[in-house]
Amino acid sequence: MASVTDRDTTGGGGDLRRRLDRLRDFVDDTTPAALATIAVITVSLLGAFVGFLLVSPLTVLPFGAFLLASGYGWLRHQEETALVLTLTTTVSTLFILGLIIVFIFVEAMPVVRYESTTVFGVTVPGLRMFLQANWDAVSPPIRYSMVPMIHGTLMVTVIATAVAAPLGVSAALFLSEIAPATVRELVKPGVEILAGIPSIVYGFIGFTVLSPWASDQFRVSGQGTYLFVGVVVGLMALPTVVSVAEDALSSVPESMKSGSLAVGTTDWQTMTSITLPAAFSGVSAAVLLGVGRAIGETMAATVMLRGVPRLTEPLVNAFYGQETLTSLIARNYGEADGLQMDALFAAGVILFVTVLVISIGAQYIEWRMRRKLGGEA
């Protein structure tokens, strides 16, 4: 249904004309008083925004006018006002996102310029951040390489996914397909409560209990290992994965499962060959959400890691935990200034781009699966 209307509206010029027509219809159908109210709301809100950007104390005037006009409009022309206000909220969400993106990119520029390097006679800004692996913000040569942090984030994410994905998907399968209804009703809210535990709690347990224990058991000098940060972050991502994957699995139509059972398969065969493939897009979205949480996890990593940006030796050595992109920012924002601060913004840009790619990837998988299987999940 949705895809049909999508296809209808993808015509280029006709689309624009239709929108103009709709706008004209809207203006024709609306009373002048309502139009005036809408105009006042729009103009005063724009004024408030300009005042906000200029950090003017007078911002309160257009903002007050906006509130008054909205209040009046709500009482007298509710439908039109609601239309404008909902449109405003949508636009402002996008706008705030845009401002944030512009801000972190602008703030990261100086360090990108500082870390320029010349390859084959061409100066590439920021390239040295990814070619060398040494970070030193204080003693010369001062270098802000992102390689150790990217490595750290990758290690933590891979370990966390290895923990969260199999555990989460199998738990979801059990809850959705095998468990009796009473167990499901009890366990599912429990899992969702787990998702609400603040990450510092996990980090604190990791710092005081897990890390010293790991350092004793593995005879590591000092505490802080990617392995245990990954495990803790994986456990933190687990509730998200279970919850989303369970939703996906239980939304597979009963008719598909019954059909499969009717041709003589066992419950297990139905699960592996019908339910899981049909819900694959939802399950993979669940895992990707978990991965997103692992990449963005800050507190637990900051508390448990060592805070010295450096590659481990060899690279796959998970028994030493140095620094991730997020913990770098969390640990240094208070002391950093100048280029070091800009380097933290550069870490933020890398995180932003990574999460963007992952979420686009998730959407793409979902779209592919929906086209292929036509399932509802």
């Binding site: 204080v138 003693s139 010293p212 000098s221 000092g222 010295v308 640990r331 002391e335 200034d337």
Partner: protein, 415 residues
Amino acid sequence: MTHDSERLSDRVSRRKFLMTSGAVGAAGLAGCGGSSDGGSDGSSGDGSSDGGSSGGSSGDGSSDGSQAQQGDTETASGSGSNTSLLTAEGSSTVYPISNKGSSYWNSNAPPSDGEYWGSNSESTVPGWDEIQTDMLLADYFASQFGFEPTEQRSAPPFSTTVGLSHSGTGCQAVVDGLVDIGNSSGPITAELDWSEDKATSTVIDNVVGRDGQPVVVSQDVWDAGVEQLTGEQVRAIFQGDVENWNELDGVDYDQEIYAIGRAEGSGTDTSFRLNMLGSADAPMGGVDTRQGQNQQVAQLVSQNEGAIAYMALAFTSDSVIPIGIDFEGTLYEPDKDAENTIFDSAYPLNRDLHMYTLIEEDNPDGGGYDRREAAFLNMFLTSFGQQVFVEANNYIPLPTSDLEEMKGKLDAVKP
């Protein structure tokens, strides 16, 4: 399609709720912004109507001769009787001193208290001999700078509050006028990368105490007989030339060294590099972990083997043990009764603890203090303040000559 439009209207009603609550929140924020504007106007005392009216009303109510005199000497209204909240912010190292002082100040204990102020049959506060007053704590110090005593406990002539952040943040906050006092464990020249001239013309450097930065080791290292190291050995450990305790001369303990440092560029880190490693940008390749707070360092030392760290004296304990350091033939011991101790000013890892105040035009004589700042800082420079706020927090009290010099600056602000 009808189904879709139904859902749309459903969403609109949900959005309506979200939007309304958002608008209410924004209105609340706007209100907060407005009131905080007024507050900062008042505290910086730039002669705006806000500051004037609040200062004026409280001043009029309790007006007497001395208040009127102040009115004569000062054109800007309300800075003499400005009783707005005194704010301080900054380094976690200076925080124990500053915050304890603030707590004592706000409680405004009567002289009969004995534990916090004054004297009774059971106890007497340190340094009471020099004070001997029948006024309450904050009343006593504030009245020296022209404030009216309240004669009420828990109601000082003006209140104080201390925020906890970082040295650099504290310096920046006082320069920007966000707070009255900026606490810093490093000199402002290093924290904000200023020249000496700019620093002396912008802020007043009030040193309230010294911090010895002892080198500490974990229990197992102490038990293995490491009770002192030379400066050279500490340098070798933190620069990565030595990886195992048994590589050091005279140490027979096979355990990898776990060297703990502080956040890159923090006040503690900078002064350690400067005083121990030779320059503020000396490399520290041997550091295995860096932590932002003294508490975290102490925790790491106590729960790991082979650990060595440097940190503020106030956080040492039975399992975080300070060791002696031998600098070019002089052994500084962690023992108060030794000939040379890590509490001496001569110990190279000692550093001054600063409470910066901004030089402002509207301060009395265009100087570095308004009267609230001067009254509060003066408390720390008495023998009482040094013993209760500095020494009791394991910091090093200032020698008499430094105290006298600082008090001389404050006396200029007295009415």
